[in-house]
Symmetry: C2
Subunit: 84 residues, 2 copies
């Protein structure tokens, strides 16, 4: 694998995984007042479209990154709707 | 432009723009207690790597989406560090 491919995969992994600390924090504190509902609504829609795109072009990195991204953003969205 | 390309561009636009409602909310309220520092640190690093990747492969959509993404995530990160 060349340097540029490794760089792209690293970037994809970090941006997707970056939702994890927010999921963990929000599951612990159950405090969501400062989180933007609009952000997580848009993020779930955007990740889902990326996932459909990945399935259509049959690209495993895009499918896996966005399946994880959709799940993490959806958890935060559900917590935001639940806790306000 | 074919359907799949339009779908990918729509997905990229929505996921990048989704940070905007959080930026607006946080600039208004100055409340960042519920935001995860780790999320925005990782997001700025990840978006920056995507930006470098886009510059190396000379892909205008990747460059523009991640230049905007880096800026928006950086604004939230700076507000989080400032307001705690």
């Amino acid at each position: 694998m060349d340097f540029i491919t490794i760089l792209g995969l690293t970037a994809a992994t970090i941006t997707t995984a970056s939702f994890l600390p927010q999921v963990i924090k929000t599951l612990k504190t159950r405090q969501t007042k400062d989180l933007s509902l609009g952000m997580y609504l848009a993020m779930v829609v955007g990740f889902s479209l990326w996932l459909i795109y990945g399935l259509l072009v049959k690209d495993i990195p895009i499918i896996s990154a966005n399946a994880i991204g959709t799940t993490l953003a959806l958890i935060i969205l559900v917590l935001k709707i639940k806790h306000g």
